[in-house]
């Protein structure tokens, strides 16, 4: 079967996307859980039986609640130093006084990354550590099905009231007797979100018909996102929170009766970094305060000590005990002992025993060899001494010895709890190795196949034979299939932990096995072919190495260097530096090439063209190994020499020489627009300057100028209709931004009503769709009537300009210059660098890919989850709708690479007259460029899976890479379609 290289590359990428999906599924572990459903549950354990016959403790029920009413105040992004640090002393006087002198216990709760709201709420309420994958579904939070505190409280008949972030309402639907959710949709809203919560407070505090009140305040988080932790807005917000806490505390105290005290818990879901964002694992992001305030506690005596460090998950167990509920089954938290410190020794022991029993059962259900776990052993020992203690207790022994013995047992229990929960937390990082291996094998095979077919795929025909049915390989194929299936059965039957790949239906599994063996056979046959032909070209390889130009060397070294740099966490955090460095060097090398073209060729022309003619054959031969198609290379080199005289035309020459420098300056400006990465992210940049509220007029001016520039740069190659549509669309973009309050019109001076700008955004969407539709129509026309290629290139350009318009809508206004510079650089490159230098398709593809990657970071992205601009997913939508939101967010995030990829297609199809296989070559190179880093990175991540930074650095990057593969696969399909049309035409 003959395949064009475009088709081949696209299908390879599709298979690779499958492999990546499988790997990702295996890599991101599912959280530790006992049974999938919460319904099935056993009875709570009794107190450990004292040894000896006839003595049985009769305490088999869950202990009664310790507190009557509990108020949980969750302040989003409350960092520990906002309460315990100097800010707390300054702005939260009441809280500070309670912490220092009142009846309270204060702790620093450590949140596990990802420090994003929804996983943190889950951790607080279930006590389990949500998997990393929860970040992805953070946007649409489905109901929480695991056993959790809220569910437990509801089933025991507690009445819960909730006000605040509506994530809770989505997580716990129908759990609250009364709720009022506020969306955290408008990040620029600092007061409304909190007033929405506080307005209910007075009424609710007077009432008696509730047991648990949960308040989630969002304002602080919004302030952090917009202005950072050191902004002047933080102080007043903290003061507001302090007053609210004071009000609640006083009201709780006044209502207290003799029977049971009330409890006020203050905590944060996550902190914030020095720039005000969150999601990572820096100290500021993971350290949150945790305050328990109740009259049941002893007044603090003695000097103030540093608050102790606990885990965020500990809150669930502690609250469960406090409310007299069973501890959630999946909780890995420990009881915070001081909270129950006022109780008798017997009760305290009972509490820790319940906690330990729950943890050890969770361990039993998750590890086969639980009996050897040190935590489990400790727990068994502690349980035994607990029994002895009870024996003494029931005998009526009431002396000092009993108390001391009890303390000893308590200590043993705490030790056991700590070990148990740490070994359970480690379980979260239990990888599904089998799925990962299968995914990796597929990806590596695809990569090998792509690499082996480079010489063929980049030949002038861009076609190659794919052997599908040589008999020898079919025997091998069946043997391999059989063997792999046997391996599959063996692995799956002996698997101790959960395995995704095993849980798939056996038909799918067999399909995957057949795919793997088919790929393997393909690779073997490709290798065999290479060996067959290897006698002749060996000589050419030597020749080829000498004829490599600087650009080729740089491209190869850059690609390899970038892939190698992925092994270091710092280089991943600062990957933008790598790309900026590479494109700068690329520009300088291009500049050198242009100089040589302009100055030297003129001087040495006669000499050069003779040598060219002499070397023509060898160059031709060499270029086959060197990934250049023969006629194109020959043509280009010859015409390079002969046409140099006509090429140099006065001013054009100087613009051409200056263009790399202009591009360099553009890149430098863009680099200082958005500081990204980790180490230097806190440096001031233009982006922050522009978004601060006092520079609104500057931002408006910049946005307007950028939109005009976009129009100017895009309209050159569009038809008249799309020109008008584009202009109207860009006007719509500006009015959308004005409507949501990012920019202002010159005649509008008061920042009045801020709406969601739905109408304006939809107005722009209409034009985007219109332009893309016109483009597609042209493309179809060019295919059906096989008209001249100009129709096709206009069509492509129109699709491209439609995407530019969409990007202009989704980009934040301060990022619009990125789009302008993107278009500007593309125009200059096309006109003054690629055309005159006559670069071949492979080189141009690599340059597009590099610039695409650099623009990914220019627009403010990084390899951390926190920089994904989720607000792009809400443009023009009333509420969260899953599919469009995901599509829009993905598009906004990957705008840079996508626009450059589509531009590559535009450029290559306009070059079709010169080199008929250009599109196929481009598609193939693009696929190779994407597969190499992904494949190597996946292997690296597998090797580094116990690295300290795996969750904070490597996993987010893995997600980015995975999504990029899916997007590239889609782009390659588009390429393939374009290539197909061309082939039919010819």
């Amino acid at each position: 079967m003959r395949l064009r290289s475009g088709v081949f590359a696209a299908s390879c990428l599709l298979v690779e996307a499958l492999g990546v999906a499988l790997f990702l599924r295996g890599f991101f572990p599912v959280a530790v859980r006992s049974l999938p459903r919460r319904e099935a549950r056993g009875d709570p354990p009794a107190e450990p039986a004292p040894p000896g016959p006839g003595m049985v403790s009769n305490w088999t029920k869950i202990p009664p609640p310790l507190f009557k009413k509990v108020v949980l105040v969750l302040i989003d992004a409350l960092r520990d130093d906002f309460v315990f640090g100097s800010k707390g002393k300054q702005f939260m006087p009441y809280t500070t006084q309670v912490v220092e002198k009142g009846t309270s216990y204060s702790f620093i709760a450590e949140a596990k990354p990802p420090t994003v709201t929804m996983p943190r709420i889950k951790a607080l309420m279930t006590g389990s550590i949500p998997g990393f994958i929860d970040v992805i579904v953070n946007l649409n939070s489905p109901a929480l099905l695991d056993d959790n505190l809220i569910w437990q409280a509801k089933t025991t008949g507690k009445r819960i009231i909730f006000y605040g972030d509506d994530t809770w309402v989505k997580l716990f639907p129908k759990h609250f007797v009364e709720h009022d959710g506020t969306t955290s949709f408008f990040v620029s809203d600092f007061t409304e979100v909190d007033d929405n919560v506080t307005r209910h407070l007075d009424r609710v505090l007077k009432r008696e018909d509730w047991d648990l009140l949960i308040l989630h305040y969002l304002g602080l988080d919004h302030i952090g996102h917009m202005t950072g932790p050191n902004s002047p807005l933080v102080g007043p917000k903290l003061r507001e929170m302090d007053n609210i806490l004071k009000k609640i505390h006083i009201s709780l105290l006044s209502k207290e009766e003799a029977s049971l005290p009330n409890l006020l818990v203050v905590c944060g879901d996550h902190g914030m970094s020095e720039t005000g964002s969150h999601g990572g694992s820096s100290e500021g992001e993971v350290h949150t305060p945790l305050l328990f305030i109740s009259s049941a506690f002893e007044k603090r005596s003695g000097p103030l000590t540093q608050p102790g460090l606990v885990q965020q998950t500990d809150l669930a167990s502690t609250l469960a005990v406090g409310l007299g509920l069973p501890i959630s089954r999946n909780s890995v938290g420990n009881l915070i002992l001081p909270v129950v410190g006022g109780k008798t020794m017997r009760e305290q022991l009972r509490f820790v025993h319940l906690n330990g029993f729950q943890l050890s059962r969770l361990l039993q259900e998750n590890t086969p060899a639980y009996e050897k776990d040190p935590g489990y052993e400790h727990f068994k020992i502690a349980e035994k001494s607990h029994g002895n203690w009870i024996k003494l207790y029931l005998e009526g022994n009431n002396s000092e010895i009993l108390l001391n013995l009890g303390k000893k047992v308590l200590k043993q229990y705490l030790e056991a709890l700590k070990t148990l929960s740490s070994s359970l937390s480690k379980q979260v990082a239990q990888y599904d190795m089998y799925s990962m291996m299968v995914g990796t094998v597929i990806i590596m095979e695809v990569l090998l196949l792509l690499l082996l077919s480079i010489p063929k795929a980049l030949s002038s025909r861009a076609e190659f034979e794919v052997p599908l049915s040589p008999p020898l390989f079919s025997l091998l194929f069946y043997l391999m299939c059989l063997m792999l299936c046997a391996v599959h059965v063996i692995v799956c039957t002996s698997a101790e932990s959960l395995c995704y790949f095993c849980s798939m239906s056996w038909l799918t599994a067999v399909g995957v096995m057949m795919l793997i063996s088919a790929l393997m056979c393909g690779i073997l046959s490709a290798i065999a072919k290479i060996f067959e032909n290897s006698r002749l070209p060996l000589k050419n390889l030597v020749v080829s190495s000498s004829s490599w130009s600087e650009i080729d060397v740089l491209i190869l070294a850059g690609t390899i260097g970038h892939v190698l740099s992925l092994g270091a966490s710092s280089f991943i955090e600062e990957e933008h530096q790598t790309w900026y460095f590479l494109i700068n060097t690329l520009c300088l090398v291009l500049c050198q090439e242009l100089c040589r073209n302009n100055f030297l060729l003129k001087e040495w022309e006669p000499h050069h063209s003779t040598t060219m003619k002499q070397n023509f054959d060898s160059v031709g031969e060499a270029s086959e190994c060197k990934n250049i198609d023969i006629p194109a290379a020959g043509n280009s080199k010859l015409s390079k020499a002969t046409s140099s005289a006509e090429f140099i035309k006065g001013s054009d020459k100087w613009i051409s020489l200056a263009s790399p420098w202009i591009i360099l300056i553009c890149c430098r400006l863009l680099r200082s627009l958005n500081q990204t990465g980790v180490q230097w992210a806190h440096r001031s940049d233009f982006g922050h300057w522009l978004t601060s509220s006092e520079h609104k007029s500057e931002l408006s001016f910049l946005a307007a100028v950028s939109l005009l520039m976009i129009l100017f740069l895009v309209q050159r190659r569009c038809s008249l209709v799309s020109k008008i549509a584009m202009a109207l669309g860009l006007l719509g973009v500006y009015s959308y931004r004005a409507a949501i309050g990012n920019v202002i019109f010159p005649w509008q001076h008061d920042s009045k009503d801020i709406s969601k700008g739905i109408t304006e955004a939809r107005f722009v969407y209409v034009f985007v769709l219109g332009i893309v539709f016109t483009g597609t129509k042209d493309l179809l026309k060019s295919q059906v009537i096989s008209a001249d290629s100009s129709v096709k290139s206009t069509g492509l350009w129109e699709v491209y300009s439609g995407l530019v318009l969409l990007a202009a809508l989704l980009f934040r206004p301060h990022n619009l210059p990125v789009l302008v510079f993107c278009l500007l650089i593309q125009t200059m490159m096309t006109k003054y660098i690629w055309r005159p230098l006559k670069c071949d398709a492979a080189q141009i593809t690599v340059m597009h890919y590099w610039f695409g990657q650099a623009f990914f970071y220019f627009q403010g992205n990084s390899n951390g989850i926190a920089t994904v601009d989720i607000s792009a997913g809400f443009v023009g939508l009333e509420s969260y709708v899953e599919i469009p939101a995901i599509f829009l967010t993905a598009f906004a995030t990957y705008t840079g690479p996508l626009l450059w990829a589509i531009h590559l297609l535009c450029y290559l199809s306009s070059e079709v007259n010169r080199n008929s296989a250009a599109v196929g070559h481009g598609c193939f190179c693009y696929a190779v460029l994407r597969s190499v880093p992904v494949a190597i990175y996946i292997v690296l991540v597998t090797g580094l899976r116990y690295h300290l930074f795996i969750w904070s650095v490597f996993s987010p990057k893995l997600l980015y890479e995975g999504v990029h593969v899916f997007i590239t696969a889609a782009v390659c399909l588009f390429f393939m379609a374009m290539d197909q049309k061309h082939s039919q035409k010819v």
């Binding site: 530096q577 700068n584 030297l600 180490q679």
Partner: protein, 219 residues
């Protein structure tokens, strides 16, 4: 003839290497607290100063480019002034390129500029000594197969090595090791220096190795 020339080149280059090494070692005897890392800016000044004076002296002594025509004193002066201007311009150009590569524009300007001066010393100054302020000659030397003597070959190699050294020197900057040599521009200037010395040593060896293939056309 050729062997002798190569030996002369080797001697000259080794002397250059020695001068670079001395700049790192000698000032420590005269000045307490001098280290290459600690007082990096001073070292940059000393190193560029020493290497440039040494190169000029060497050039005056050896006269590798045998310019046939004797020129007048006024001509020499104008040549010298031209050289100075070229040198200054190359400093500015290097500074601009470094800023384009991402060095901060306003803060640590001194560091960046001194680094640019160091780079110019290692590259431009040598070219000026060897070729004079003659752009055409420069373009000829730095194009493929343009060298016409072993001195020009050596010039090519050292210049390339310096630039590559500075380029590679930027690699460790993003790593989070918090070492003193990761501070801007220490790693880059050290890279450039190592590249320069490596180039000086490699050049004679490479020429010696390839002396059969190297045939110089004369103009």
């Amino acid at each position: 003839m050729k062997e002798a020339a190569i030996r002369r080149l080797l001697a000259a280059n080794l002397l250059c290497v020695l001068s670079v090494v001395l700049t790192a070692v000698v000032p420590a005897f005269f000045w307490d607290g001098f280290t290459v890392l600690g007082t990096h800016l001073t070292w940059l000044c000393i190193c560029s100063g020493c290497v440039s004076t040494f190169n000029i002296l060497l050039h005056l002594v050896l006269k590798p480019n045998l310019s046939p025509k004797r020129s007048s004193f006024a001509h020499k002066i104008s040549r010298f002034l031209k050289c100075c201007i070229y040198f200054f311009m190359s400093c500015i150009l290097f500074h601009a390129i470094i800023v384009l590569y991402g060095a901060p524009l306003i803060e640590s300007v001194t560091e960046t500029f001194l680094f640019a001066v160091l780079l110019s010393t290692f590259t431009t100054l040598q070219c000026l000594c060897m070729l004079g302020p003659n752009i055409q000659a420069w373009i000829r030397v730095f194009s493929k197969n343009g060298a016409m003597s072993i001195w020009e070959n050596s010039l090519q190699i050292t210049t390339m090595c310096t630039i590559f050294g500075a380029w590679f020197g930027a690699f460790p900057i993003p790593l989070d090791w918090d070492r003193p040599w990761q501070v801007w521009p220490v790693s880059c200037s050290l890279g450039a220096t190592f590249g320069y010395t490596a180039g000086l040593i490699i050049a004679p060896l490479w020429i010696h190795w390839n002396r059969k293939q190297l045939t110089y056309k004369s103009r």
